[in-house]
């Protein structure tokens, strides 16, 4: 069981991911506003962030950077509607473990989450 944060400006999309991952036994917190999500991570630790790249107020990568201030080495799965090689490189540089094109398949999402959590566990604890 892991604590997962999902941030997508389209709430339905976030809830979908929540439903899928809840069935795998994870605790999933869904946000559609960047500030609310950031406020949450300031007080509550999470094991994985699933972030949309294109958010109304901020860039997905900036959100990740902000979150990492409170939670260093927070692994993240970045979702994007417009896959771009340069952006993918940047995402990996910021500690993202996956860069996926939307819409992401249920099976693929489950697989990526499992893989990301496994890698996160293998990371040396602070």
């Amino acid at each position: 069981m892991a604590r997962i944060l999902v941030l997508d400006d389209v709430l339905d999309a976030g809830v979908l991911i929540q439903r899928i991952l809840q069935r795998k036994g994870h605790v999933v917190h869904v946000f559609h506003d960047e500030d609310e999500a950031l406020r949450f991570t300031e007080k509550n630790p999470v094991d994985l962030a699933i972030l949309d790249m294109n958010l109304p107020k901020m860039d997905g990568l900036d959100v990740l950077c902000e979150m990492q201030k409170a939670l260093p080495r927070l692994p993240a799965i970045m979702l994007t509607g417009l896959p771009d090689a340069a952006m993918a490189k940047q995402a990996f540089a910021h500690g993202a473990v996956a860069y996926c094109a939307k819409p992401i398949d249920k099976d693929k999402l489950e697989e990526r989450v499992a893989k990301a959590l496994q890698e996160g566990e293998n990371l040396p604890e602070q």
Binding site: L16, R19, L82, K102, P103
Partner: protein, 524 residues
């Protein structure tokens, strides 16, 4: 008679004597002057007359003088009877001399008249002669001027001829002359080149209307020309060189004689093939860009809701795993949503073609071989044979291997669909050294593309395949990819190249890619 010689009569005798002597002297003087005059002007008849007159007068004066002097001499010598003997002779001689003068004078008159007439004749002859000389001079002057004029005109004509010949031969446009029946009589070099004919003899006598690709258009051209005596900017497609029809803009006019009867036609045809092609490409590329932007916008907006539908359908499938009917329904929703997702992905791919660059130095032959190896099996199943003719020494160039494969797959899939089953797919690679381009030809023995569809096949969403079989994006995406490589893609249906025709190719796609040397791809 002795009484006659009386002393009181002496002065009379003296006067007679002296008078006779003076008369002789004066007669000689007159002769002398008359002679000098004749010497001065031998032809003057008056002087001649004077001369002869003086001569006769000399004879007369001598004869008369002797007749007056000798009686005194003989009387003094006391021989008067001797004079009586001579006296008749003296009298006769005098008479003869006076007769001579009379004859001479009479003769002079008629001679003078004759000579005068002759002179008048001579004068008029001379005048006539002078006039003749003048006329001759005039004539020769005129002749000379005429010669000069002819020379000048000839030079003018030659220059004019040279000028127009130069214009005719040097023009890059086709210039032609036809007879009244519309058959070609003369055509310039550019015309021969455009029509793809080497010798003028091969063209002369052929009706121009036969070169129109569309016979009706040719008939319209003739009708307009016959009705108005001219056509301006008449657009027509001509049967032309090997690489497709010629697009010409014709301006022609009728040549008429003084009575207005048509003697023939002259015309200039401008080759707009290249221009039209460029315009078409420009329009197409504009269209692609705007459609691309639209497609990207739509695709991006649809993407998220589509993902949500798909995801919830998948979730529900799990929930209703036990209920067969609901589960099947949900499976259909999932399947159709996935088809939508593929279309959206294609759209995004199509609109995003210039964003990502992953060009590497490589061998296009190898890329093509890899694709052929993949599709070979499917083609064999439908009894489609692949004819390969790959250039052995194809230069390496920079290209995006993944996307170029996509182009080849698209073209080969289309070829497969065009054939259905049983046929030939031809694949060629060629190296054009002079233009430094690689040409890739993919052709099929399928049904060919109808002419009215040829212009639209690269348009996004244009498809002749059934619903669900194609999105109509394959060729658009391929077009974009090739354009992104600074190349071009052309379609020929049917191709005219003999090599392609002999292999029964009905549609061929020709991709032209410029050679990009290693290290240059970044500058592109």
């Amino acid at each position: 008679m002795e009484t006659a010689f009386n002393f009181p009569l002496f002065p009379v005798y003296l006067v007679d004597y002296l008078g006779a002597t003076v008369m002789v002297i004066l007669a000689f003087c007159a002769l002398f002057y008359a002679r000098r005059l004749t010497r001065l002007e031998p032809k003057n008849i008056l002087w001649a007359y004077f001369f002869w007159f003086s001569l006769v007068m000399v004879i007369f004066s001598i004869s008369r003088g002797v007749g007056h002097l000798l009686p005194y001499v003989f009387r003094l010598a006391d021989l008067p009877e001797l004079w009586d003997t001579l006296d008749p002779y003296s009298g006769g001689l005098n008479t003869i001399a006076l007769c001579g003068v009379a004859i001479l004078t009479l003769h002079y008159h008629s001679t003078a008249v004759l000579i005068n007439r002759a002179k008048i004749d001579a004068l008029s002859l001379e005048i006539a002669n002078e006039r003749l000389v003048e006329a001759h001079a005039d004539l020769s002057r005129l002749n000379q001027t005429l010669e000069q004029q002819v020379e000048e005109r000839t030079l003018d004509l030659r220059l004019s001829e040279e000028k127009f010949r130069g214009f005719f031969e040097g023009s890059k446009d086709m210039i032609y002359f036809c007879d009244a029946a519309g058959r070609l009589c003369d055509i310039n070099e550019s015309g021969l080149r455009l029509l793809g004919v080497e010798r003028q003899q091969d063209l002369v006598g052929q009706p121009l209307a036969e070169f129109f690709l569309d016979r009706e258009r040719g008939a319209l051209y003739r009708e307009l020309l016959a009705a108005d005596g001219q056509v301006k900017d008449f657009e027509a497609e001509f049967v032309g060189r090997e690489d497709g029809p010629l697009y010409l803009m014709i301006t022609a006019s009728a040549i008429t004689d003084r009575t207005g009867t048509t003697q023939g036609y002259q015309g200039i045809a401008k080759d707009l093939t290249h221009f039209k092609k460029m315009m078409e490409q420009l329009v197409h590329s504009e269209k692609m860009t705007s459609v691309g932007q639209l497609a990207a916008g739509v695709a991006h907006e649809i993407n998220t809701p589509l993902g949500i539908i798909l995801g919830y359908a998948q979730l529900l499938e799990e929930d209703f795993a036990g209920q067969t009917e609901v589960h099947e329904t949900l499976e259909i929703i999932e399947k159709q949503a996935k088809i939508c997702r593929r279309i959206v992905a294609d759209l995004l791919n199509f609109s995003r073609q210039t964003l990502e660059h992953n060009k590497l130095y490589g061998d296009l032959n190898q890329c093509l071989e890899e694709v052929l190896a993949i599709v070979n099996h499917t083609l064999n199943m439908d009894h489609i044979f692949i004819h390969r003719c790959l250039a052995e020494k194809l230069p390496r160039t920079c290209f995006d291997n993944e996307r170029m494969r996509q182009v080849f797959v698209n073209l080969l899939t289309n070829a497969h669909h065009a054939i259905g089953s049983e046929g030939i797919i031809g694949v060629w690679t060629r190296w054009h050294e002079e233009s430094r381009q690689i040409e890739i030809v993919i052709g099929d023995s399928g049904s060919g593309i109808p002419p009215d569809q040829l212009g639209r096949i690269f348009d996004p969403f244009y498809t002749t395949k059934g619903v669900g079989k194609g999105t109509g994006l394959g060729l658009s995406v391929s077009f974009g990819i090739i354009q992104d490589h600074n190349g071009r893609i052309e379609v020929k249906s049917p191709p005219l190249e003999p090599e392609l025709v002999t292999l029964d190719m009905h549609t061929t796609f020709h991709i032209f890619l410029p050679i990009v040397a290693e290290g240059q791809e970044k500058e592109q």
